[in-house]
Structures are given as structure tokens and as C-alpha cells.
């Protein structure tokens, strides 16, 4: 077991090194010799053509070191540290996400426990669920009149469905025997919901919450590119406009890292509430 883990780790490191090496070689700034033929053309295009080249990993790394050494600096609206941008995005994601959980879990409970409610609400869910969350953006901006709240609303609407459906599915699937145990012990409906159905359905609910947070983190980048102002999505777009590709690549990596951390955290919670039959 341990040796498999070690070998997998070594292999990962090797793959990373090869990829970075290839990237580094492909993206070397052209030597003056090779560039000689294009000299005239380059002059015509101005100095920017050199800067717009995809930077090699070494350059991205140097940039990452300087960014991460002062992640929270704030030098005006268009020049903030990566930490501040990520914090803005996380704030929106978590706010929208927890509001969605607050609605989705109780409603999912009701749908899961009542076949009538399931049938009544199912058509709405089926129509609303496939709508791209970004399609709501214009309507949200018009009605809410606030870009921050609109972004939160978009996160809310995209994270609600997996949690709602998984909660309903988990609640409907609670074993009849456990419900019968609650009945023979004369538990009130509320006690039954809290001490039998909820713990029984929690692993399924957590799966839904994990899917939701992943989707929310995907959507926030796109949403912030649209609404602008702050956040990691806006930051990526802004650095692209500045043609600072080292920053763009660095932010892409950071988006991946934060997304992974969010998933790891929910995975840890899922392990806490999981049980073996």
C-alpha cells in the first residue's frame, strides 16, 4: 500500500517535471539569431509582440512568488493582491451557496417525504435546472440593480439543484425499517426527521453539497468576468486585457487550487457523516 502511494507520488512529480520542461523549452524567448529574419516585422509590431508570448513556467513561477509574498496588497481598484481577489470570490460563492443550502435542504426534505409534493414540484425543477446560471444574469442585474448581489444570486441558483435533488433522493431512500423503528418508538415527526431521516440521508445530501460547491466555483469565474469590479474572474479578465499572461496563468492555477481545497473540505465533512451498513 505505502509503496504504491510513494510510487504514484514519484510518478506524478515526474509527469509534472516533463510537462514543465517541455513548456519551458517551447516558450523560450527567441534568440536574436532566430529572430533576425523577423526583425523588421517585430519592429513594425512594436515591443508588445515580445511580451504577448506565452511565458515559460519559470516566469510564471517568479510572478507567483512575488504575488504570493504580498497577497493582500491594495493599490487602487485595478491593482489588488490575489488574496483579496480570491476572498471576494469566496465570499460570493459561500454566501450564495449557503443561502441555497438553506432553501434546498428543507425543500428537498419535503419533496423526499411527500410523493405529492414531488410530483407537484418536479415540472418546475426539470425546467429550471437545465438553465445556464449565467442566463439569469441580465434579469438579476435588472431586478436586483446590484452587481454584487446579482453574482451571489447566480451562485445561489446554480448550487441549489444538486443539493435539492440529492436531499430529496436521500430522504426518499431512507430504509423503511428505520422509519418503522421511529414509529414504534412514537417519535414526533420533527424528532423523526432530525434523529432518523437526517442522519440516514446526510451522506447523500453531502454528495449534493459537494457537487454544488464545485459548480458554484466554476460559475463564479464566468459571473465575475461579466459583472467586473472585484473577484478572481474579473482579475483574470483584467490581466488578459493588460496582456499580462504570467498573471493569467498564475490565476488559473490559483482557481484550481482553491477549487480543490473547497472539495477537500466537503470531502472531509462527508467522511464524518458517512456510515457503513
Amino acid at each position: 500500500m505505502a509503496s504504491t502511494k510513494l510510487r504514484a507520488g514519484l510518478l506524478s512529480a515526474l509527469i509534472l517535471l516533463v510537462l514543465l520542461g517541455v513548456w519551458e523549452i517551447l516558450c523560450q524567448a527567441p534568440t536574436s539569431n532566430a529572430a533576425a529574419a523577423d526583425d523588421e516585422y517585430a519592429q513594425l509590431m512594436g515591443a508588445t509582440s515580445q511580451e504577448a508570448r506565452v511565458p515559460p513556467p519559470s516566469a510564471v513561477f517568479m510572478h507567483a512568488v512575488s504575488e504570493l509574498s504580498q497577497p493582500f496588497y491594495d493599490a487602487g481598484p485595478n491593482d489588488k493582491g490575489i488574496g483579496i481577489q480570491l476572498a471576494h470570490s469566496l465570499y460570493r460563492v459561500l454566501t450564495g451557496y449557503f443561502l441555497a443550502a438553506l432553501v434546498a435542504i428543507p425543500v428537498g426534505f419535503v419533496i423526499g417525504m411527500s410523493p405529492l409534493m414531488y410530483r407537484a414540484l418536479n415540472p418546475f425543477i426539470q425546467i429550471l435546472r437545465p438553465i445556464s446560471p449565467l442566463a439569469w444574469m441580465p434579469l438579476a442585474l435588472f431586478i436586483i440593480q446590484d452587481s454584487e448581489a446579482s453574482a451571489i444570486f447566480v451562485i445561489f441558483i446554480c448550487s441549489i439543484w444538486p443539493m435539492l435533488l440529492n436531499t430529496a433522493f436521500g430522504v426518499a431512500g431512507v430504509r423503511r425499517d428505520w422509519i418503522n423503528v421511529a414509529r414504534t418508538h412514537e417519535l414526533s415527526p420533527l424528532r423523526t426527521a432530525l434523529t432518523v431521516i437526517l442522519p440516514a440521508a446526510l451522506p447523500t445530501i453531502l454528495t449534493g453539497m459537494r457537487i454544488s460547491v464545485g459548480i458554484a466555483w466554476l460559475v463564479i469565474v464566468a459571473a465575475e468576468m461579466l459583472v467586473g469590479g472585484t473577484g478572481i474572474g474579473y482579475y483574470v479578465w483584467n490581466e488578459w486585457n493588460n496582456l499580462d499572461l504570467a498573471s493569467v496563468i498564475f490565476s488559473i492555477v490559483m482557481i484550481g487550487v482553491v477549487g480543490m481545497l473547497l472539495d477537500l473540505m466537503l470531502g472531509a465533512v462527508a467522511r464524518l457523516v458517512s456510515y457503513q451498513e
Partner: protein, 303 residues
């Protein structure tokens, strides 16, 4: 006043079938259980034993007739009737102790936390689970899980305990050990018990009376066999009792022959099963060697 603590009157269970007559699983089912009595019910699978037990629990409904306990009709589940299911029905996210506490807290909400815990521990230890209190059901063997389930049911001290083939899924050795635990706990508490089993020896070991059910459809309880063996009983000793094989043969003969022959026949005038006492018959035989026994077992055994 009824002479029984629990009484079943003219129970029937029917299922409507599209395009034909409704299916009658059982009908004319009458029986009584006395306070403190241990009653087993035996019958071929599908004759409706679980349906009757679930109706007693208040989890299921019969199509006809009434179930009465302590003078009141059974209308729904109640803490006065504890159930041990065949598949244990423990909460897998709770430890063994917490599963018992779950029942005790529901039963005695006015008790302090410490008292609930101590009471639960006592019953867990009574079924021989000292040292396994903190383990989850998935970490326990089938036999240990069923003991937790039995501890939970006894700890809530219901007036009537219902067990649906509680040992059906266990191997023979484990079953024997847990039967002993059950005898011990029952001896200490003198609960009224109604238990389904398909094991004739288990029924003789545990029961004061065994109800014998004919095959379904249109099943009914045809006989009630008194087990007048001295208590406390031990499996290695009762087999030497002179009445043991008489009782055993009677039961086996019912299951092999009469359960089928009596299927769908009309019940006695009062609807109650024929009371049979093989041990008493044996004693009477010894007193009056020439006289035929009251028990119908001899006449019909080779019919």
C-alpha cells in the same frame, strides 16, 4: 373482561386483485395471550405471520377483525409494544450503546441523561455485550447486532414484545447462544412475548404456548400447543424430558401434514384454536394406559 391480556378477534387480511376475487391470505384468526406469557407462532412462509405481528405492532392493518391489548383496540404503533425485526433495524450511524439509548430516551424522556445511559448499559450487559458498547453495527457480527436489537427492545420495557424471526438469519451455534440470552433476559423481566419462528426446537425451548398456523391462502390458527416443560429450560436438558419428543413430533406432524390438510377448513365454533397439551396427555396416558389421548395428533398423523 377478557381472560387474555392481548386478544385477536376474527382477523382477516385480504388483497384485492385486478380482475378476480380478492386474495384472502388469512381469515378467522383468533387467539389470546396472557400477561407474562411467551407465545410462539409457527407456520409455513407466506401464511401471514408477519402481517399479524405487524398488525400487533400497529405498523400494518388487517382487513377485518380487531386486536385488543389491555382492553383497548390497537390503532397504531406504541411504546407499549416493542418490536425486534429480523434484520435488526439498528441505526448504522449510532454505536451499540447509542442504539439502546435511542429507545430508552424515547420511552423515558423524563429521565436524566445519566440514568438513561446507565439503564441502557445494564441491558447491553445483560445480553452479553460488555466491551462492545462503542462499536458501530457494521463492526458487530450478525449475532451481536441482534443482541443489541433485543437489548433495545427489552430496555424500553414494553407491555408486549414482538419478535419476527429474530434468529432466522443467524447460524445454528450463534442462534443457540442468543436463545440462552433471551431466556435469561425474559426470566429477569417476565415480559409478555409474541414471537414468530420457523424453528420447532427453538419454539419448544422458549414458549409457554405455540400457535400453529395452517398454510395460506385462507390460513388460520388451528392449534395452540401448551409446552408444560419445567423452567428454567436448557437445550441440553429438555431433550431428555419424556414429553419433549411427543411435543416435537406433534409440531413436526402439523407442519408436514395437517398444515396442508386443514388449509381453508372451517374453524371451531368459537373460532379459537384447539388447545392441546401433549405433556398432560402423556401423564394421563400413564395413569390410564387403555384410554385414547385427547390430542388429535395420533389419529391424523398418518392420514
Amino acid at each position: 373482561m377478557s381472560r387474555y391480556f392481548v386478544e385477536a378477534r376474527n382477523l382477516a387480511k385480504r388483497f384485492s386483485q385486478p380482475g378476480s376475487e380478492p386474495l384472502t391470505v388469512f381469515e378467522n384468526v383468533n387467539f389470546g395471550i396472557q400477561k407474562g406469557e411467551f407465545v410462539c407462532i409457527i407456520g409455513h412462509s407466506g401464511c401471514g405471520k408477519s402481517t399479524i405481528l405487524n398488525a400487533l405492532a400497529g405498523l400494518d392493518q388487517v382487513s377485518d377483525g380487531a386486536l385488543i391489548m389491555a382492553g383497548k383496540e390497537i390503532a397504531g404503533p406504541s411504546l407499549e409494544r416493542g418490536v425486534v425485526f429480523q434484520n435488526y433495524s439498528l441505526m448504522p450511524w449510532l454505536s451499540a450503546l447509542d442504539n439502546v439509548i435511542f429507545g430508552v430516551r424515547a420511552r423515558f424522556p423524563q429521565w436524566s441523561k445519566e440514568k438513561i445511559r446507565q439503564h441502557s448499559l445494564d441491558y447491553l450487559h445483560m445480553v452479553g455485550l460488555k466491551g462492545s458498547e462503542a462499536r458501530k453495527p457494521s463492526q458487530l457480527s450478525g449475532g451481536m447486532r441482534q443482541r443489541v436489537s433485543i437489548a433495545r427492545a427489552f430496555a424500553t420495557q414494553p407491555q408486549l414484545l414482538l419478535l419476527d424471526e429474530p434468529f432466522g438469519a443467524l447460524d445454528a451455534l450463534t442462534r443457540g447462544v442468543i436463545q440462552d440470552e433471551l431466556i435469561k433476559v425474559w426470566g429477569e423481566t417476565q415480559q409478555t412475548v409474541f414471537m414468530i419462528t420457523h424453528d420447532v426446537d427453538e419454539a419448544i425451548l422458549l414458549a409457554d404456548r405455540i400457535l400453529l398456523m395452517t398454510n395460506g391462502p385462507q390460513a388460520r390458527i388451528a392449534e395452540a400447543v401448551h409446552i408444560d416443560l419445567p423452567r428454567p429450560r436448557r437445550r441440553d436438558q429438555i431433550i431428555h424430558h419424556p414429553a419433549f419428543y411427543k411435543i416435537r413430533n406433534h409440531l413436526v406432524d402439523f407442519l408436514v401434514n395437517r398444515s396442508k390438510a386443514l388449509q381453508g377448513t372451517a374453524p371451531e365454533a368459537d373460532g379459537f384454536p384447539t388447545e392441546i397439551n401433549p405433556a398432560l396427555d402423556l401423564a394421563l396416558d400413564a395413569l390410564h394406559p387403555g384410554k385414547p389421548s385427547m390430542s388429535p395428533s395420533k389419529e391424523s398423523s398418518h392420514g
